[in-house]
Subunit: 342 residues, 2 copies
Amino acid sequence: MNLKQLSQLLGLSQTTVSRALNGYPEVNAETRQRVLNAVRETGYRPNRAAQRLATGRAGSIGLVMPTAPGYDSDVHFGEFLAGLGDAAAKHEFSLVISPTHPDEEVAACRKLVASGNVDALFLAYMRERDPRIAMMKSLSTPFVVHGRSLGIPADYPFLDVDNTAAFHDATRLLLQLGHERIALINGPQHYAYAIRRRKGAERALADSGLALREECIQHSPMTDEHGFRAMQRFLALEEPPTAVLCSSTVLALGAVRAINMAGLRLGADISLIAHDDVLPMLKPENFMVPLTTTRSSLRAAGSRIAERLISQILKLEALPEQELWKAELIVRASTGPAPAGK
Amino acid sequence: MNLKQLSQLLGLSQTTVSRALNGYPEVNAETRQRVLNAVRETGYRPNRAAQRLATGRAGSIGLVMPTAPGYDSDVHFGEFLAGLGDAAAKHEFSLVISPTHPDEEVAACRKLVASGNVDALFLAYMRERDPRIAMMKSLSTPFVVHGRSLGIPADYPFLDVDNTAAFHDATRLLLQLGHERIALINGPQHYAYAIRRRKGAERALADSGLALREECIQHSPMTDEHGFRAMQRFLALEEPPTAVLCSSTVLALGAVRAINMAGLRLGADISLIAHDDVLPMLKPENFMVPLTTTRSSLRAAGSRIAERLISQILKLEALPEQELWKAELIVRASTGPAPAGK
DNA sequence: TTTAATATTCAAAGCGCTTTGGGTAGTGCA
DNA sequence: TGCACTACCCAAAGCGCTTTGAATATTAAA
């Protein structure tokens, strides 16, 4: 069933039917009702491809999903997606995901835009001097970056969490508790958020005349296993840290395990602060020793970005171009005074 | 830059250029090369909406993502998506995700198909007598179900893990070890896989003249927290179980925590077997006490389903309509003989 | 009763691509 | 030389929708 058939059925022109369906004012109320009824009865659905071709709009927002066989999927991706999805669903947008090898993201973005399949693009997993930004600016498709790049001017639309501040504050708390040997279990080194978190910690330490020792830093994908290994490595050091920062509760999971296994008491012998993306699967308050965290909901961020993108596509109210969210520092039991004599 | 402009630039007809690009044989090799060069120089990309309209093909496979504000996202979804993505990327397909309220999946599927946005549909989160199956069978769009429904004939394309057998085998192992009081921490009650897993366990118990006690069953979303709570509840019973089955390593995570907290030794005082979806984030072999599991990769399943869908769309080789994968039972340290005197 | 608005409706022109149904040369063979 | 092929290329017809520019019917104002 297509427009033509439907309009013939009704004895109306395609124009009128189309207008009736799309809410244009110049249609008699009674006629519109007739059309609507016919739609219900016939189950007619406009063909989106044709709609797109005619309007130039796709009704969907695109994102590139870095993936490849052997490349670990990222838990955080799903959570973020849920946020995008919530907002998209509200406006009847769909998400077009282009699964792509992590090394070919730039090309994949360009392709996705050129395909005409999407009205806007969402960019994530930002790196230092990320080439995707210049590329997107040269096109006219709206986009919002989740996070911020580094080393290039921040003159593009983004939504980021103030990672530097979050880790600065967390580190300062540890310092105030008397910790001096602090370690960091971070995400992969090439991501901007990881760099910023590290900087935040380093700055807080520097403010107290201390430094983040090279051997007390771990950069790796955010899985339980990497958290565990990193913590084990730290604990084996000649001068092991008395406190550790984790870039994710998933990393913290492994770290806590290593701590337990070493017979140390979390919050007493060693303190831990994790960044909490609010993964429903893993809540910091439910750890055996509840975790002190810097919290910022990934899902909320996804949702907000989708809102911004859609409001731009549909030319609704103007939303801020750039947003920097503060993470909340929530103190629970995993942090305590530095053990004496260390 | 569109086909028309490109063909004018080359002094060729749109037909020829189109054919050159799509690999049709009736084009002079030299001409084709000229076209290809021009494409490279101009950066021309065919408009997908137009392609779709003309071919009737969308170049993408669709899925409905159940989501709503306040509705927890599911870790397993992301992992599955990665699998779909791997295969999709290989054939230059994209994924169209329609985020939908969990109660409106049927309507969302119908809409997604009718939109012409997708060439095939992937169905998951199967329930008992799932209405989506009849609906999809009435349409002519290819689809593959991940899992199987229950209570209706299995006469549709699916890929499922033999959940009944997996939990049957796991339970039998526990019985062989002398356990008689066995508990089950399962996924939400309305999902077919959860029902099958329960049945598997019940059957194995019945074979030994035992039963799964009602108070030893927990149905809930698969998060750490639910695993923890369930285990705590079990341990508080008058006659607590000596072994527990978990439907996910995420649930096991919480369960193990409760076990530790109760001062019990996993694999000695209490045994645990979890179903392992091979989430990179959380590996059973890395638990403090490595977990005995029934293993079946979610990602591999996703990938395989995408392959099947695509081969059907593109009319490549015929792949099996129905597949039932066996889960491997992998014994690690979390299972041991039932404690004496219990 | 006219005339000017206003309210409805329509025919037709695209949107950019694929594909059908011819054409036109050039080649080999009788 | 004539004929059947083959190789290559083209014009034009859609795909199903939106939107422009007009036409027609209705109503209000003069």
